[in-house]
């Protein structure tokens, strides 16, 4: 679905990617994690054809995104962190924008709006930032595009909105679609994504499915000093120490994305070697 080879990208005074490779497969929800300024939004913009690579290849659904052909644009939907919605009612917005998306489903859109508790007859400019974001997310999901790119979708959403988003998105993906969600609020992606991509210093540090992460790593609270000492990453708690360790005993533990992220950033080579085995 998305194939990125040897991507080099830089802004005038800062190099972002120096040979990034990435494959995105259909049927998954990817969580794109990384520090501020590591290039999460830049990567999404390159995939959407809003930024052009300095060198390397990007193929999205068989298209070169930089050409921004209508057939490509109608099969992806990009929800940026900062977005614009016109000063019209939701109904009018749908009337004038949805025809550009071949597989847009208005019933689905209305259902998502209802889930987010936003009246269909609202005017977009009279909604709060979070409500506008919910409208855009609903529209993006109802557009039924093969690829949905979401840049920090949980920013501005309240607690209820985040759980509504999780519920909606879990039902939205099928084997033909993919969703890439970038976020620095790692906790927001828990129970939502099935693959993790961590980027740092111009490249991919980790690109693994949740199942494989669970099989290779264990996340637990330990009171055993030697276990803590041997852990890949540890953090003291009020009681005990939370650790990320190699899953030697094939334990089933709940993946803590925040710990995974911290462990990867602290020991990138070790984590990579574990998954390369």
């Amino acid at each position: 679905m998305v194939c990125i080879q040897n991507l080099h990208f830089s802004y005038p005074k800062k190099q972002i990617f120096g040979g990034l490779n990435l494959q995105i497969k259909a049927g998954n929800i990817y969580g794109l994690l990384g520090k501020n300024g590591t290039g999460k939004s830049t990567l999404l913009s390159n995939i959407a054809g809003l930024l052009f690579p300095k060198s390397g290849n990007i193929s999205v659904l068989g298209f070169n995104p930089a050409k921004r052909q209508p057939a490509f644009l109608q099969d992806i939907f990009f929800i940026p962190e900062e977005f614009h919605l016109p000063d019209v009612s939701i109904g009018r917005f749908v009337k004038y924008t949805s025809p550009f998306y071949r597989w847009f489903n208005e019933e689905l859109f209305a259902a998502y709006l209802a889930e987010f508790q936003i009246p269909y007859n609202s005017n977009l400019q009279r909604l709060s930032y979070g409500q506008k974001k919910k409208v855009l997310i609903s529209f993006g999901l109802a557009a039924n595009t093969s690829l949905l790119l979401m840049d920090e979708p949980t920013n501005g959403l309240d607690i209820a909105g985040k759980s509504q988003l999780r519920k909606i998105m879990a039902a939205a993906v099928d084997e033909k679609k993919s969703i890439i969600i970038s976020s620095h609020q790692v906790k927001d992606l828990e129970n939502l994504i099935d693959s993790v991509i961590i980027i740092d210093e111009g490249g991919i540090v980790l690109d693994e499915g949740i199942e494989r992460i669970g099989a290779k790593l264990s996340f637990k609270i330990s009171y055993n000093a030697s276990e803590v000492a041997w852990a890949i990453y540890s953090e003291p708690l009020l009681r005990g120490t939370v650790v990320v360790a190699m899953n030697i005993d094939n334990d089933e533990s709940k993946i803590d994305l925040e710990l995974l992220y911290k462990a990867t950033m602290a020991n990138p080579k070790l984590i990579q070697s574990i998954f390369n085995d």
Binding site: S45, A48, G49, L50, L51, F52, R68, Q69, P70, A71, L73, Q74, I76, F77, F78, P80, E82, F83, H84, P86, D87, V88, R92, Y96, T97, P99, F100, Y101
Partner: protein, 293 residues
């Protein structure tokens, strides 16, 4: 082909563009109408019978056309001014050619038609009012008529003002020289297109930046002409027509006229009148293609 242009998609784009921008467009047109109305009202208050003459009407039409046309053109790509709007515009599933044609449809065609209509409606009404108000004076018998005739040194009868035809090269409606309306229109569309291009190139302050860029181009043209073109010519040459005629005066004072074939002048004139605008539109197309956030 459907990736380059599709009629249905173009119609959808026109509809969406109008719906989202109609308030701004209508406000702009109302402003133009208000300006004309204010101008005519001011002129009526002065009561000068010459104020509605063909020259003044032409000046107002073309002056307003250039100012309003360049102002509206500088707003053609106002979506590029902010990142969220730029993203919204660039990811909309329509071909670049469709997006460009949409901008040209509203920014050039609709603007021109609407501007001309507004001018004619306000001008027609103003002339009606002026001619009625000045009916006695126009008859030439009132004291005011005598006063006006003395002030302007008129000998004949005062005549009612007539609506001008800006598209007709009539002798009495010119500003600079007879038939200059064709050249004014020929200059307007390239200049307007240059401002649209400026709007696509410069994200902020594009009106000012485009004016500076055009001024620099103008200066460059003169520098090239004075420093490169004229030094290439032999001494004692005077170019009497920009493109086709030159006169050489030898040491004895004999003049020799050189005239290029008529078709060269015709082709050059045609290209200058109608060639620059499409070239600028193509430049806008490529600028849109390479636009990033």
């Amino acid at each position: 082909m459907s990736q380059l242009f599709k009629l249905r998609r173009f119609y959808l784009l026109l509809g969406k563009h109008w719906f989202e921008n109609r308030k701004a467009y209508l406000l702009f047109l109302v402003t133009i109408a208000a300006f004309f109305t204010g101008w005519f009202a001011f002129t009526l208050m002065i009561g000068n019978p010459y104020s509605f003459g063909p020259y003044n009407q032409s000046m107002l039409y073309f002056g307003g056309l250039f100012i309003a046309g360049c102002l509206s053109a500088s707003l053609a790509f106002r979506d590029f001014a902010t990142k969220p709007k730029k993203i919204n515009y660039l990811v909309l599933p329509a071909a670049i050619a469709e997006k460009l044609l949409c901008v040209l449809f509203y920014g050039v065609l609709i603007f021109f038609v609407a501007y001309t209509l507004i001018f004619y409606v306000t001008d027609y009404l103003a002339l009606k009012v002026a001619n009625n108000a000045n009916a006695a004076m126009l008859a030439g018998h009132s004291e005011k008529a005598v006063e006006w005739k003395q002030r302007f040194g008129l000998t004949g009868d005062l005549r009612p003002s007539k609506l001008i035809n800006v598209f007709s090269p009539a002798a009495d409606t010119y500003i600079f020289y007879p038939g200059d309306n064709v050249d004014l229109f020929s200059a307007f569309f390239p200049i307007q297109s240059a401002f649209i291009l400026g709007s696509a190139y410069f994200a902020k302050n594009n009106l000012f930046k485009t004016m500076v860029a055009l001024l620099l181009l103008w200066l460059l043209f003169f520098v090239v002409e004075m420093k490169i073109f004229f030094p290439l010519l032999p001494e004692n040459v005077s170019v009497s027509s920009v493109l086709t005629n030159a006169t050489v005066i030898d040491n004895k004072g004999n003049e020799t006229h050189y005239t290029l074939p008529f078709w060269i002048g015709s082709v050059a004139t045609f290209l200058m009148r109608f060639g620059i605008t499409p070239v600028l539109w193509i430049a806008i197309y490529y600028r849109m293609k390479e636009k990033e956030i």
